[in-house]
Assembly symmetry: C2
Homo-oligomer: 319 residues x 2
């Protein structure tokens, strides 16, 4: 069984809803109407040590990361973060003062950065480290994963570094390179490692562009998977190429990787993928925080890259 | 290290808050001000198969239980449930259609019962079954764990059955009784097993009594632990005795248990423990749903049972 089959069963079984629920399963956040003026948005994200947390991350970085992964979904709805809750399962290995102080210091610092206080949680004893976060936000105008025909499809900043960082990490993990070599590459490509260690959710950007975009999601599973949620689109590799920073190009040359493949499969970037008919306006309102790039357009029918049918990418859990 | 030491480190590390947060860590729910009219309350509860889920529960019952445990915290704040999110880690054992359909059917049915739709989640692959739920609700008047001097301390319905059910379950688990004997006891004490299998959160009661009580919590860790959150109190065993149903008395006689100890240590009951100066009014407003009983009073200073110092009870995780 894979993740998609399981989610299909879940969707078919969970039939109950009520008049408050504007959006249930199927977007970055659930959307609940509070009154005529505003909506609560909510999301949950679970990180399991073995599958989600590279062992090179420090406790501080793990804390920042779990908050960022959740808050990024709030940002992608164009909403203002309200608060965060963290349930945690600690194994014997992590049940010590150093680990806990580190983890919660990271959480605290990033909660300040996003103005999203950590207001509660549940602490448990388990066999492995598991962090399950829930973030809430509020907005007058929730932005969904969609676009209107003719809209530009755009991305904030850059993509690809996280893929490269994990590429190095797996080389280390499966003993293809020594720790010394790993460190040498980290020094050679500092920004690549930095984006894995300290990703940032685009909260300010989401709020600033809210009124000028038609749709948005965050890039957590890779552009190749996320773009498919917009249903009908054409994207172009020469435009995507502009998203790729110099160091990723150099890295791809060194390790013989295809940079477009790297960008399409680079997850946990937490950049925003959005659709707009007001590109220049968006560019202007976010200019103090992020650059934005067009990669294609929403079309009537079909999914294309460089005029050819698009086959996607991204990661799917399998049991 | 134990749970309390870990929570102390967490509280000391998580220093950031803002003007919206009325209550962070330290009550059944966090309380966030939305505007002058109402408050969002939110709680998270994690269930790990090995430590929290008796193996006699069906997938359907596990689904109902995780929702009930979370919604019960919303009820104890006197709030109206809004929605629920569930992150789940499935091992190979549970990644099959029967388990998932059963679990989410239980979740769906109980979400209808509480008018609390399941609006999202995150599905992951892990080594053991872990369910991490987050419920949120809304209220004009959040009720905290407190009381005013002279208030009656009261409990809804009855206590003790869950302790007895788990007592039987552990006898089975550690081979003190056969499965046949276990089944025989289940038939003899059907309501005892029923309260373990299908506990109910007191949502209607919390809403109805909201305006007439001073403080409230739900009984998830046992009366002996929960009562201590009210700081200064005197309780009486003859009054507590009235909370004990006939079948629990009979069970205690059969297994040579002290019924007062049983009541003090019976967790996951999800009854409400509350303080009020308007006992008769509360009794009247909830009369179609639950009975209520006085067990003592809030006093100026100290914690007493039958005039002697009170030493508590309840369960604390240790690593």
């Amino acid at each position: 069984m894979n993740e998609l089959e399981i989610i299909e069963i879940i969707k078919n079984t969970l039939k109950f809803s009520n008049e408050n629920i504007v959006k249930g399963i199927g977007d970055d956040c659930a959307v609940i109407k509070l009154d005529n003026n505003f909506y609560l948005v909510a999301t949950t994200d679970m990180m399991i040590k073995k599958t989600h947390i590279p062992s090179i991350l420090t406790p501080y970085e793990i804390g920042g990361r779990v908050l960022t992964a959740n808050v990024s979904d709030i940002a992608s709805m164009g909403a203002k973060p309200l608060a965060f809750l963290l349930s945690i399962s600690l194994s014997k290995e992590e049940a010590n003062e150093d680990f806990i102080k580190g983890l919660y210091s990271g959480l605290n610092d990033f909660s300040k950065l996003y103005n999203c206080p950590v207001v509660g949680g549940d602490t448990n004893k388990g066999d492995e480290l598991i962090l399950s976060g829930t973030a809430f936000g509020i907005t007058k105008n929730p932005i969904y994963r969609k676009g209107e025909v003719g809209d530009d499809i755009c991305v904030t900043n850059d993509l690809g570094r996280v893929y490269c960082a994990l590429f190095l990490y797996y080389k280390l993990k499966y003993n293809k390179i020594s720790y010394k070599e790993f460190e040498k590459f980290c020094q050679k490509y500092p920004k690549i490692i930095e984006k894995l260690r300290k990703p940032i959710a685009r909260v300010k950007e989401g709020l600033l562009m809210n009124n000028f975009i038609n749709g948005c999601c965050d890039i957590s599973d890779g552009l190749g998977k996320e773009i498919t949620y917009f249903k009908n689109f054409e994207i172009y590799s020469d435009k995507i190429f502009k998203l790729i920073p110099e160091d990723v190009i150099e890295f791809c040359e060194e390790f013989n990787l295809n940079p477009i493949e790297v960008v399409l499969n680079s997850g946990e970037e937490f950049e925003l993928l959005f659709t707009t008919s007001k590109f220049n306006k968006v560019k202007d309102v976010v200019k103090n925080h992020s650059k934005i790039y067009k990669i294609g357009k929403i079309i009537e029918e079909g999914q294309f890259i460089d005029g050819e049918e698009f086959y996607g990418g991204g990661y799917i859990h399998k049991w």
